[in-house]
Amino acid sequence: MKAILHVIEYDFRNFFRYRWFIIALIAMNLADLFISAVVFTQMTRGIVDYFRFFAPGLAVLGLFASAFMIGREINMEVRREVHHYLLSLPMSRIELAIGRLLAGGLRGMLYMTPLLLTNFVILGLPTLPQLLLILLALLLLAIGISGVSISIAVSTTSFEKFVTARGVIYYLFFFCSSVFYPMAIIQTLETRGLTPLVKFAQINPLTNGSDLIRSFLLGSPSFSPLMLLDVAIFSVIFALCATFAYAKILMRH
């Protein structure tokens, strides 16, 4: 446990080295909320209160972007061969991998906190059990995203390939989810023959994460344990993938 804590501390120190970058990222997220969402609210009047709808999505969006940052660092370590140093540390490969994975997730949670607090200010406070469920779902989501990011990062030594893969995943997960628009509207894509995208949007953990927050803060859609289950399954699958990939693939480089 102590070894894992050391790894987490190492990653948090790295995270704070980018504090200006993080502040700028938060500013960009808030610009999305206080400019774009405010204007779209006017355009969606009578259909959805877009500003209130988008706020939970924004928290999930921020969580995704920040939890993904661990992959960028790990890919850089692989390219600069820092992983040799990390592998020489007095801890097992599994401890190292779990530490990196948890650090990625926790950093995502830290980054997302001001965005979640903005949600509470705008939409009101949840009850304590609801808050705990929200935090649990977001933590699982952050760990899963961190897992996706690490799995890609250790699979390639090319930064450009990593950036391209990250781009594809970002856009697929962002735009094919209910982060920006209600699921009911995404479902209209079925009439255009885009059924696979609709299906993906339904199981997308970003959809379930943001809808879970909405269910408690907005009352719609109604809460379903399946939302939490979806996020948990995603998290377990990619946490295992990342742990395995980090521990095994790094030794091959």
Binding site: W20, F21, A24, L25, A27, M28, A31, D32, I35, S36, V38, V39, F40, T41, Q42, M43, T44, R45, G46, I47, V48, E160, K161, V163, T164, G167, V168, Y171, L172, F175, C176, F180, Y181, P182, I185, I186, T188, L189, R192, L197
Partner: protein
């Protein structure tokens, strides 16, 4: 001033651009996902409002995304300047048999031209989607976009040479990008910005992205989008182009002396 020498600098910048192949692929993916996912779904969401404003939102958005892509690729030149400063390429450039002004002007033209070339294939797809009702209008609009691309490139050079750190540049560009895109008519018409927050609409009136996207929509024949006359739009883009190309050239030229980039 030797045109041939400027041409060499432009050619070099065009070749450099190919180095960003993965970044360019990513921008392409971004464009496709914006159009085929975000544009379609949000188009459904705002259908009634768009009808009331007399626009087809999907078409409106596709034109806006094209301008955002042109803007972001024109900004790449700033990253090149930092890369060159970091890797000692500045010194090499200064030893070349061309004047500072030729070098700087070539960079500015190269920066704008390469983004225009990149957007070219996307533009063909967009024009196929939107159709062209008046080729003469389209030609005027494309000329306006040319000025816009050069202007953004000059702006990027101005910001890059005014900053010492590549990280700070990256952060500033990110924040600027977030504000300049959102406070423009690339994603939504002015009428809704006015309703949402009059100050947003006021800022949008001074935003070159507003003029570029509205002019492009006018050029492709998308109705109900231009708030001012196309002539004013062209004039605004010309002022933008002229100001930033001039400022960029002067700033860059000054910075080249005395190794202030180190």
């Amino acid at each position: 001033m030797g045109l041939k020498k400027i041409q060499f600098v432009v050619e070099r910048d065009l070749r450099m651009f190919v180095q960003y192949k993965f970044m360019l692929i990513m921008r392409g993916i971004w464009f496709v996902s914006q159009v085929s996912l975000f544009g379609l779904v949000v188009g459904k969401m705002v259908e009634a409002a768009a009808r009331a404003a007399g626009i087809n939102y999907f078409q409106y958005y596709v034109a806006g995304v094209t301008i955002i892509t042109l803007y972001s690729t024109s900004m790449f030149i700033g990253y090149d300047i930092f890369e060159e400063a970091e890797h000692g390429v500045f010194e090499y450039l200064l030893t070349l048999p061309l004047s500072r002004r030729e070098l700087v002007l070539g960079r500015s033209i190269g920066g704008g031209l390469r983004s225009y070339l990149y957007v070219g294939p996307l533009l063909i797809i967009v024009l196929t989607l939107l159709g062209v009702s008046n080729p003469f209008h389209l030609l005027i609009a494309l000329a306006g976009l040319f000025l816009f691309a050069f202007g953004v490139s000059g702006m990027s050079i101005t910001i890059a040479v005014a900053m010492k750190s590549g990280d700070k540049y990256d952060i500033l560009i990110g924040v600027l990008d977030a504000l300049i895109v959102r406070l423009s008519t690339t994603m939504y018409p002015t009428v809704y910005m006015q309703q949402a927050m009059p100050s947003y609409a006021t800022i949008a009136q001074f935003n070159p992205l507003t003029y570029a996207s509205d002019l492009f929509r006018w050029g492709t024949g998308i109705e109900g989008t231009f708030q001012v006359s196309p002539l004013v739009g062209m004039l605004a883009l010309f002022i933008f182009f002229f100001s930033f190309t001039f400022i960029g050239v002067v700033f860059y030229e000054k910075r080249l002396e005395g190794g202030s980039w180190q």
